[in-house]
């Protein structure tokens, strides 16, 4: 079974994150980045499937030079090979354009049985790319899987909702997006770190995929950030000194703000 896992390189949520002043896009150059944690679940699920039977796992990312780190991490975890679509024209792309590039890359990889993605990226958190990608590839999309089994050419997922639990099947080839409930992603190991150095990574440009630059990037985006402002620093709270009337003052404070 050939599995492609789509992964994203995102700014580290623990570090200071910001936008580029020139075009209001996410700054991906001057911040530490990493493989989106939500995508680690997708990688883990693919590795488990591949280990359970015959299978090859290809990790695919669309992103700048630094995004190679996301591929490296997935290879260290155990994926077999990587594909990195890297083209300056992609900068500022929205979900629509990203899904186009991913779809063309998956077509070029060829004979794919299963595409696995995370349920959303930890930076954009739109969660729409999996469905868009499936549509472009003409594949059934079974999303938000908290359990996945593949048997006899059929993928079966469990989707946990607030009121019900659904079991959904799709014939392969198919696309599955997974939640953070589906497994516990492994860490790379020292052996994995050493092995990853020898694994092949292809780097493709838009031209390699036959995608015209005018279809992607900020200019082609359906949405763009008009302006941004840093969250204002938290101001110091108001201290009520109790002079026998503390309770009344508290009640007054709350009712003034319509809490009581």
């Amino acid at each position: 079974m050939n599995i492609v896992v789509c992964v994203k390189y995102v700014p580290d949520a623990q570090a200071e994150r910001t936008f580029n002043a020139s075009d209001n896009t996410t700054d991906r150059e001057n911040v530490d980045g990493l493989l989106s944690e939500l995508d680690e679940y997708a990688v883990e699920e693919a590795l488990k499937l591949a280990e359970a039977g015959e299978g090859e796992v290809t990790v695919l990312t669309v992103g700048p030079d630094s995004a190679a780190d996301a591929i490296k991490k997935a290879l260290q975890m155990g994926a077999d090979k990587g594909v990195h679509v890297n083209d300056a024209a992609i900068h500022g792309s929205d979900a629509v354009a990203t899904s186009l590039v991913l779809a063309e890359a998956i077509k070029k990889i060829g004979s794919v049985d299963l595409v696995i993605t995370g349920m959303a990226s930890t930076d954009g958190t739109m969660g729409v790319v999996p469905a868009m990608l499936a549509e472009r590839l003409g594949l059934p999309a079974v999303t938000y899987a908290s359990e996945l089994t593949v048997d006899g050419g059929v993928a079966t997922i469990r989707r946990d909702g607030d009121a019900s639990t659904q079991t959904i099947t799709a014939t392969l080839p198919a696309l599955v997006s997974v939640t953070d409930q589906i497994n516990e992603p492994r860490y790379p190991s020292f052996k994995g770190i050493m092995a990853a150095k020898k694994k092949p990574v292809d780097t493709w440009s838009l031209a390699d995929l036959g995608v015209d630059a005018s279809q992607v990037g900020l200019d082609a985006a359906w949405t763009r950030v008009e302006s941004f402002a840093a969250r204002p620093p938290r101001s110091q709270g108001q201290i009520v000194t109790d002079e026998g009337d503390g309770g009344q003052k508290l009640a007054a404070f709350l009712s003034e703000r319509k809490f009581v």
Partner: protein, 383 residues
């Protein structure tokens, strides 16, 4: 502030990254509760083992990672900066394979190392005895060879043994002849050996997730091929293993001091008195500066010894210096860190009082700091 590290290779830098990730995601959320409840950190060891971090300085052909001490020790330091008990456990465990890797026969190594270095097993190191601590050569645990020479029977009591009762094997030193230090030998004792039993864990001042207990050998019989090297080589093995082990303790102490410094610096920037952050008072800022100087010099000192070791040069004196400098630094830095937090530092709402308790033992085990001075002065004054 994470320590600035110059790593010798890409893979070493990636190992540090991996260590930090495991520490942040798996160890940090567990440490406070586990230390409070005295729980054995089994899951932490398993996670580190699966990632290959329990056998870094040993040959790749037996499951290790062939990493130089310079790299292995910095991994230990990173772990210690999050969970001291686990770092000490890693250091002790690493020590347990040292005699077999350095002195064992090829056949013994092939038989035992793959298991010991697999990451699934944990080793304990049985050297100290109730009446033989600093004075190892006076140990009385005895190993008697059977008449046909096929087995040894061990009898005696070991004291202060880390992981006692949790380990999968016990690297054990015992007397095979009444010739003082020359009469000691080293055995690899499996945990399920008949006659092996453990006393209740000691009630210690700190390091609560590193249980230590007496280990009793009541006629424990092992096959003769579990004698590592030859009879009489025990003291040499113990001393050379200790040289390496001291570096592990030096690295762990450095990590502990770094953690205390980081917590103190963060607090000093937040806490306000007399209308300003206490960090703005020079009297306090200089305390922080001295802590930074102590941590940085401790790190430099153990790395110097490690690089000598990695280059195959003599490093025994430098290892003793590193152990002395780093553990004294840890004691001073953790004590001062409590001072920086004032009353808060003295409470269990912050980890500083724990760090201070944990630092104390580093001046005691793997050779007390008096013994380190003995090692250093003898070498400086020799010849």
């Amino acid at each position: 502030m994470p320590a600035t590290r110059l790593m010798p290779t890409d893979e070493a830098a990636e190992l540090i990254e991996l260590t930090r990730e495991i520490c942040r995601k798996d160890l940090a959320p567990e440490v406070d509760g586990a230390e409070r409840d005295h729980t054995f950190p089994e899951k932490a060891f398993r996670t580190l083992g699966r990632a290959g971090l329990l056998s870094l300085p040993y040959p790749e052909e037996f499951g290790g990672a062939d990493q130089p001490y310079e790299v292995y020790l910095q991994v230990v330091e990173e772990i210690a900066s999050v969970w001291m008990s686990v770092a000490v456990g890693v250091s002790v465990h690493s020590l347990t394979a040292y005699p077999l890797v350095t002195f064992g026969s090829r056949a013994q190594q092939e038989a035992h190392l793959p298991g010991m270095l697999s990451g699934d097993q944990l080793g304990a190191y049985c050297l100290s005895e109730p009446l033989a601590g600093s004075d190892i050569a006076s140990m009385t645990t005895r190993a008697t060879r059977s008449d046909d020479g096929t087995t040894y029977s061990l009898k005696g009591t070991k004291a202060w043994i880390s992981h006692a009762g949790h380990a999968d094997y016990y690297t054990t030193f015992a007397r095979t002849a009444d010739t003082g230090g020359r009469g000691l030998s080293t055995f690899l004792v499996p945990a399920d050996a008949t006659g092996l039993s453990f006393a209740a864990p000691e009630r210690k001042m700190g390091l609560h997730c590193d249980p230590v207990a007496q280990v009793m050998f009541d006629g424990v019989t092992v096959d003769a091929d579990r004698l590592i090297g030859e009879e009489g080589q025990g003291m040499r093995m113990a001393l050379s293993a200790l040289d390496a082990g001291r570096l592990g303790i030096a690295a762990a102490a450095t990590g502990l001091a770094q953690a205390a410094l980081d917590a103190a610096a963060a607090y000093a920037k937040e806490r306000r008195q007399f209308g300003r952050a206490i960090a703005e008072f020079q009297g306090l800022a200089f305390l922080i500066a001295d802590m930074e100087a102590a941590v940085t010099s401790a790190r430099a000192t153990y790395l110097h010894a490690a690089r000598l070791k990695d280059a195959g040069r003599a490093f025994s004196k430098e290892a003793a210096v590193a152990k002395l400098v780093a553990t004294d630094a840890a004691m001073k830095v953790t004590t001062d860190a409590v001072q920086v937090l004032g009353g808060a530092g003295y409470t269990q709402d912050f980890p500083l009082e724990r760090y201070m308790r944990e630092a104390k033992v580093t001046q005691i085990f793997e050779g007390t700091n008096q013994i380190q001075r003995l090692v250093i002065s003898r070498q400086v004054l020799a010849g």
